[in-house]
C-alpha cells in the first residue's frame, strides 16, 4: 500500500539512497526563470558542461519583467531598473547559448512560471517537477511531485537532469465538509497554514485529501498547493482525477491521441492506495469556514475576517503587529486600505479574475485606493480580455497590466510605498515583501476586490449577490 508520493518517488529513483549517500532522483520537468538561474548557467560554463536535456526545460521571464507593455528589448531598457533589464538579457543569452527555448517577450505563452506550466499541459500527473522557486509546489495540484530547489541544484539538474535528495516524510491533510458559498480555496489554504503553523510542514510532503479537496477545480487546487511552502512543506499534492484530466485534455504539451489514453490509464493508478500510511495526519473541517485574512508578517498569523486580532505576548508577535500598525483585540474590518493587488501564482488565473470581477462589475474603486490587476500569464490575459474582464477592471478605475509577478515581489517597478497597507491575493506578507516598509494582508480575490471598492477591509459576502 503506497501513497501518491511514494509511487512517484519510487518511479524516479535512479540510484537508491544509502546511509552514506542521498537518492539520485530523476527530474521530468525543469522550470526556469531569470532570477534563480544566472549563477547556475555560470557553473555550467565554468565546468564546460552542456545542458543534458534541453527538451525537459521550460523557461520564461516573469519576476524581473515590468508589467507595462514591452514590445522590444529597447523598450525594456526604458522601463526597467538597469539591473533587472540586465538579468532579463542574461536569461535570453543563457537560453540561447545552451539551446533552451525561452518563452520570452515575443511568446504567446509567457507568464508566471507556475501559471504557464499547467496552462501548456507541461505539468502532468506522476511527474517530478522542480524549479529554482519555492512555489513550485503549485504543480502538485496535478498529482505531480513538485518542489523548489536552490540555484546550485538548478545547476545540478541542468547538467545531469537529476537531484540528490533524502526521502521526505508524508503528511496527509484531510479536509472534510464543503466550502460554504463565497469562501474560496485561498481561505482554505490560509486556514490550513493557520492551523498547522508556518513550520508545520517542514520535512514533509503534504497530500491534501478529502471531499472538500476533490470538489475543487484545478485552479483552486493550484491555489492550495501553491501555499504549501508557507506551511514549511516543499511540496503539496492532490491526487489526479477526472477534474485533472478534463483540465489537461488538448493542451499543447499534454500527450495526444493514443498516447493520451495510455497516459490517463497510468495516471489512474497514481492515487494513494486505501490504507496507505502517512507519517502524520491532520483533519480539518471547512463546513463553517469564513473568509480568512492575515494580520501579521507571516502567513500563519491569520484569522477569520470578522474576528478581532488575537493576543500574543512573544516579541516576534509584538514586533509583527507593530510593523503592521495593527492592535490586538481590534477588528480588521473597516481598516482603510491604500493598495489592492490581484495577481500572482497563487491567485492570478482566469477564475481569480472572474471572482474579482463579480464584485468590481458596475462599481468604482474607492477614492484613495490603487487597484492593480495583473494576469498570471499572456494566456490568462487573452482569455480575460475575450470575456471583457479587462473592461470591468478599467471601468471600475483599476489598472489592467501585462503578465508577471509584479507586486507579489516588487522586483521591477510595481511596489507598495513604505507604510501603506496593501490587500493582496499573493502568498507572502513578510516585512517588505511588496516594497520596503509595505504592510501586506493576504486574502482571496473576492476579499481583495471588496476592499478595493469600499476602501477598507470588508467581508466580501456583503457585496456578492
Amino acid at each position: 500500500m503506497q501513497s501518491l508520493f511514494e509511487k512517484i518517488w519510487g518511479k524516479h529513483v535512479v540510484a537508491p539512497e544509502t546511509d552514506d549517500t542521498p537518492a539520485v532522483l530523476y527530474v521530468d520537468l525543469h522550470l526556469l526563470h531569470e532570477v534563480t538561474t544566472p549563477q547556475a548557467f555560470d557553473l555550467l560554463r565554468a565546468k564546460g558542461l552542456p545542458v543534458r536535456r534541453t527538451d525537459r526545460c521550460l523557461a520564461t521571464l516573469d519576476h524581473s519583467t515590468p508589467t507595462v507593455p514591452v514590445k522590444t528589448l529597447k523598450d525594456l531598457e526604458l522601463v526597467s531598473e538597469p539591473s533587472a533589464a540586465k538579468q532579463v538579457r542574461q536569461m535570453e543569452k543563457n537560453c540561447k547559448d545552451f539551446g533552451i527555448e525561452l518563452r520570452g517577450f515575443a511568446s504567446r505563452d509567457r507568464g508566471i512560471v507556475h501559471v504557464m506550466g499547467p496552462e501548456l499541459g507541461a505539468t502532468q500527473p506522476g511527474a517530478t517537477i522542480v524549479c529554482g522557486d519555492s512555489h513550485t509546489s503549485t504543480h502538485g495540484a496535478f498529482g505531480a511531485l513538485a518542489f523548489g530547489i536552490g540555484t546550485t541544484e538548478v545547476g545540478h539538474v541542468l547538467a545531469t537532469q537529476c537531484l540528490l535528495q533524502r526521502k521526505p516524510k508524508t503528511l496527509a491533510i484531510n479536509v472534510g465538509g464543503r466550502l460554504p458559498a463565497d469562501v474560496t480555496a485561498k481561505d482554505l489554504i490560509l486556514k490550513i497554514i493557520g492551523t498547522i503553523g508556518v513550520d508545520g510542514g517542514t520535512g514533509y510532503v503534504i497530500e491534501y485529501r478529502g471531499g472538500a479537496v476533490s470538489a475543487l477545480s484545478m485552479e483552486e487546487r493550484m491555489t492550495v498547493c501553491n501555499m504549501s511552502i508557507e506551511a514549511g512543506a516543499r511540496a503539496g499534492m492532490v491526487a489526479p482525477d477526472d477534474t485533472t484530466y478534463q483540465y489537461m485534455a488538448g493542451r499543447p504539451l499534454a500527450p495526444q491521441g493514443a498516447k493520451w489514453d495510455a497516459a490517463v490509464a497510468h495516471w489512474r493508478t497514481l492515487p494513494s492506495d486505501t490504507g496507505a500510511k502517512f507519517d502524520k495526519e491532520v483533519d480539518i473541517d471547512v463546513a463553517s469556514l469564513r473568509p480568512m485574512i492575515t494580520f501579521g508578517t507571516n502567513p500563519g498569523m491569520v484569522m477569520s475576517i470578522d474576528d478581532t486580532v488575537p493576543e500574543g505576548n512573544d516579541t516576534a508577535f509584538r514586533k509583527a503587529l507593530a510593523y503592521m500598525q495593527i492592535e490586538s483585540g481590534k477588528p480588521l474590518l473597516g481598516l482603510p486600505v491604500d493598495v489592492v493587488f490581484i495577481g500572482s501564482c497563487t491567485n492570478g488565473r482566469l477564475s481569480d479574475i472572474r471572482e474579482a470581477a463579480r464584485i468590481l462589475r458596475g462599481r468604482r474603486v474607492a477614492e484613495r485606493v490603487r487597484l492593480l490587476v495583473v494576469p498570471g500569464s499572456a494566456d490568462v490575459k487573452r482569455q480575460a480580455e475575450a470575456e471583457g474582464l479587462d473592461e470591468v477592471v478599467r471601468a471600475a478605475g483599476g489598472e489592467w497590466r501585462e503578465p508577471g509577478c509584479s507586486m507579489c515581489i516588487g522586483m521591477n517597478g510595481d511596489t507598495v510605498p513604505s507604510g501603506k497597507l496593501s490587500v493582496s491575493t499573493s502568498n507572502r506578507n513578510f516585512e517588505g515583501r511588496q516594497g520596503k516598509g509595505a504592510r501586506t494582508v493576504l486574502v482571496s480575490p473576492l476579499t481583495a476586490a471588496a476592499a478595493a471598492v469600499r476602501g477598507h477591509i470588508t467581508d466580501p459576502r456583503e457585496l456578492v449577490g
Partner: protein, 190 residues
C-alpha cells in the same frame, strides 16, 4: 568551495522566530547575476536606517558582535523563498554557521551546498544560547557537535553533506559520476 572542519567563534543572536529569506536578503537585491557582494545587503531592512546609516541597536551592527561567525536565530530560520542568495549573503558577510531549533528545508539544503553549516539543537541548548549572546562556541563537523557552555551538543547532518563539506567537494561531482545509471534510467523510461 573551501573545506570546513570546525568553526570557533563568538555567537551573534537574532532571537525572532520565523526569520524568512526576504528579511535575510530583500527581493530588490535579487536582480544580480553573480553570487558575490551580497553581504552588504544582508538583513538590509533591519540593518540600515532610511538614509543608509547603520542602525546602532541591530545585533549585527554592535561592535562586540563584529566578526562573529555563528548566528543563533529563532525557530524556523530561513523560511519562505528558495533564494540561494540568502546563504550567499550570510557567507559573504562572514556568517559560517546558523544555530536554531528548526531550519527551513530549502534554506538548509542551500546552506549545505555553500559551506554554511545549519546546526539544529534541542530547545534547552537553544534557550541557553539565546540568553548568552556572545558565547564562545565551537562547531565540529567530524563529530557533528556544537561545543557550548562546557558541553557538547550533537546536531543532525547527513553523512554525505558532511563528507562534501569536510573535503571541500561540490556535490555535482558525485552526480556526474552517476552518468551510466542516469543513461540506463533514461533508456528504460524513454
Amino acid at each position: 568551495m573551501d573545506a570546513v572542519k570546525e568553526i570557533r567563534s563568538r555567537t551573534v543572536v537574532l532571537s525572532n522566530d520565523d526569520i524568512d529569506t526576504d528579511q535575510i536578503i530583500p527581493a530588490r537585491f535579487l536582480t544580480t547575476t553573480t553570487k558575490q557582494g551580497l553581504g552588504k545587503n544582508l538583513f538590509a531592512d533591519w540593518r540600515y536606517e532610511k538614509d543608509g546609516r547603520e542602525r546602532a541597536e541591530f545585533a549585527l551592527n554592535r561592535p562586540e558582535n563584529r566578526g562573529a561567525a555563528v548566528l543563533v536565530a529563532g525557530s524556523n530560520f530561513g523560511c519562505g523563498s528558495s533564494r540561494e542568495h540568502a546563504p550567499w549573503a550570510l557567507l559573504d558577510f562572514g556568517i559560517r554557521a546558523v544555530v536554531s531549533t528548526a531550519i527551513a528545508d530549502i534554506f538548509r539544503s542551500n546552506s549545505l551546498k555553500n559551506g554554511l553549516i545549519p546546526v539544529i539543537v534541542d530547545a534547552a541548548s537553544h534557550r541557553w544560547l539565546l540568553d548568552n549572546p556572545g558565547a564562545e562556541v565551537r562547531v565540529d563537523l567530524e563529530s557533528s557537535t556544537l561545543e557550548m557552555n562546557g558541553k557538547r551538543v550533537a546536531f543532525p547532518i547527513d553523512r554525505f553533506s558532511r563528507y562534501c563539506l569536510m573535503n571541500g567537494l561540490d556535490q555535482l561531482g558525485f552526480l556526474l559520476e552517476q552518468e551510466a545509471a542516469i543513461r540506463r534510467y533514461e533508456q528504460a523510461h524513454a
